[in-house]
């Protein structure tokens, strides 16, 4: 039996409520035989119980009682699929605007967005919002499943109309690749099996497109980064600094700078789980032994050139999920960036992003689920990169000091399309 080494692709489904995201994922999992017999039986039983008859494929991922009762997705469901060369982690995100925070949760770790929209209604405002958030969160490629083709009699004209809309918005948002596929999630056309109903379409199925897309982390021109999570005391007295590598790999002998202190030293050794290695690749939870004595601790950052910026004031893109408005002089907030937490206040609101025009418009506050630009000032210095350079050192969350709830996703800098 072939159980080869696989790479890993993280994808998120996005799009408006009722356009068929959960049904498409259900179809993809059923037709690739990723579901066990008992899980399929349970979906059939649940469908029958609610008088839906046959098999409601959305029940494959809509697992909560309330979701099944209301027929909508409330929170992200994570599902897993494997092909001979690839493991997929699928975040099936809710489409409803109320649950934008959950959609952002699913998309923040995604390499790719699988966009689902209804061919009859085309690009809705909510789909634009999701595409915009995905672009802001750094998703660089999209696969667009133009769904419910069976309901428009497999009309090439109807499909082409949506393709044009997608091409325009993809260009505006700067996706590096976007592929548009006519599908019926309900019937399975062009999901796993190529459709006989779309002879005018010669491109890949959704599964073929997912298998061909590029996996993994971003290419970056910045240096290697390791935010210190924890200091490990070594037998015999030394200390090593544990954290996850981002940006580029570290190698034994690399010249590094400990920030924000600015201390220069070199890497004497790299360990993983107590075992030495010559290099620490991106994504490895390694620990580094530095040649010189330092007082580094949690919240510090070890980096190679070009170095990140040390700052207490910066401009950021904010996706606001809080119930109270986000404004100057608003609620008390704490900011978590890499492994560091610090009090933060809003210095200035620069404006809101208008989803329709993708322009920044004047505003003095953001309400729930709005996105905008603001200048923040922190109590302690942060070591940051622009989000487009490094998804780890460029991202942060805002936390309500009273309830400890996470109330915003933040990105250092702003997207080029703004």
């Amino acid at each position: 039996m072939e159980l080869a080494t696989k790479d890993l692709l993280r994808l998120a489904t996005i799009g408006s409520v009722d356009d068929g995201k959960s049904t498409l994922i259900g179809r993809l999992l059923v037709d690739t035989r990723q579901l066990f017999d008992d899980q399929l039986d349970a979906v059939a039983a649940a469908s029958e119980k609610r008088g839906i008859g046959d098999l409601d494929l959305s029940f494959v991922t809509d697992g909560l009682r309330a979701e099944r009762e209301q027929g909508i997705t409330i929170d992200v469901a994570y599902r897993y699929a494997t092909t001979p060369t690839r493991k997929f982690i699928i975040a099936d995100c809710p489409g409803h605007v109320t649950y934008t925070r959950n959609m952002a949760t699913g998309a923040s770790t995604a390499d790719l967005a699988l966009v689902v929209l209804d061919v009859a209604s085309g690009l809705k405002e909510q789909t634009r919002r999701h595409l915009c958030i995905a672009a802001l969160l750094g998703v660089r490629s999209v696969i667009v499943a133009v769904n419910k083709m069976d309901a428009v009699d497999w009309s090439e004209l109807a499909f082409e109309r949506v393709v044009d809309q997608i091409a325009t918005v993809s260009r505006e948002l700067g996706f590096s690749s976007s592929l548009t596929i006519p599908v019926s999630a309900l019937l399975g056309d062009n999901v796993v099996e190529a459709s006989l109903n779309t002879p005018w379409y010669e491109g890949p199925t959704v599964l073929e497109a997912l298998e061909a897309s590029e996996a993994g982390s971003w290419e970056t021109a910045q240096g290697a980064r390791l935010p210190v999570q924890w200091v490990l005391r070594q037998n015999g007295g030394g200390r090593t600094y544990a954290g996850m590598v981002s940006g580029e790999a570290f190698h034994v002998g690399d010249a590094v700078t400990l920030l924000p202190a600015g201390v220069q030293t070199t890497i004497r050794a790299i360990n993983f789980g107590g075992v030495p290695r010559p290099e620490a690749t991106v994504g490895l939870a390694a620990d580094l032994d530095l040649a010189d004595e330092t007082d580094a601790g949690r919240g510090d950052l070890i980096a190679t050139a070009p170095l990140p910026t040390v700052t207490k004031e910066f401009e950021a893109t904010i996706c606001w999920f809080g119930e109270q408005p986000f404004s100057v002089g608003g609620q008390r907030l704490r900011l978590k960036h890499t492994t560091k937490s610090t009090p933060v206040r809003v210095q200035a609101i620069k404006g809101l992003i208008d989803i329709e025009s993708l322009k920044v418009v004047d505003a003095t506050s953001f309400t729930t689920n709005q996105i905008g630009l603001a200048t923040l000032v922190t109590a302690d210095a942060l070591v940051v990169d622009d989000y487009r350079e490094d998804r780890v050192t460029g991202s942060f969350v805002l936390i309500d000091e009273v309830t400890n709830a996470t109330v915003a996703a933040g990105m250092v800098g702003h997207a080029t399309f703004l």
Binding site: L64, D75, T82, L232, V252, L284, T406
Partner: protein
Amino acid sequence: MTTTLQTPHATDHLDVLESHALFILREVVAECERPVLLFSGGKDSAVLLHLAAKAFAPQQLPFPVLHIDTGQNFDEVLDFRDRAVEVAGARLIVAKVQDTIDQGKVADPGLLGSRNRLQTVTLLDAINDNKFDAAFGGARRDEDKARAKERILSFRDAFGQWDPRQQRPELWQLYQGKVNPGEHVRAFPLSDWTELDVWQYIGREKMDLPSIYFAHERDVISRDGMWLAVGAFVEPNPDEEVVRKMVRFRTVGDANCTGAVISNANTLDAIIEEVAIANVSERGATRGDDKFSETAMEDRKREGYF
């Protein structure tokens, strides 16, 4: 420092999952005051303990290990528990469901009755008594549709309840474990692992496991579509025939609600092969506790279950 360097292996999906888990373990230990690792003696908690040892090597584990003892365990699992905890150099806390019953906090289901749901009370009491603010668990999202919805760091209120409609946003890998006194978080470092990933990892790391995961001969009865091992907690009814079969266990829970599967797989390689072609899920094949209703897991999780 003169050490022979290992050849770096290419990054495959197991490396990515492993590093992610180590990152979560360290992050929770750094952010929370009093973490604990929930350990059942099953394969998932064995992997979790193995990863915890790696995350903090060469130091000792910076948290204790908690076993919720239903009193209806397989002996082989208790043996493994003691062995694994000793190898990891961890401090073991055992909280007994029997004590919860003796305190009158839950009704006694009798010797043969299921104590599965009662564990929640024992677990929440242990978390409360020890003032734990974070509890690591080995749960995976591929196990159940309610678990598929849960965050990696999952908030529990002062009553230990999970509210699936009000989960904290969990952006990037910025895990946020701050809670007010009396509240806690559950942390699931194996969230993105599948059953097959777990077995491939156990194979790669050549890990020790309870012997009941490997095929062996055992007296079993067929009940509710499952093969149950005849023993102290499962007595055959007059109409049930005891048969001797070659079986193994795919999951490890209480002896009276965990079914065996017919199998000849007695090596890790054979088990990996068997899991890769299975057409019934591990909980579907072997767990009576999930079969009560459509949302059995969600309902138990809301109350504070693992």
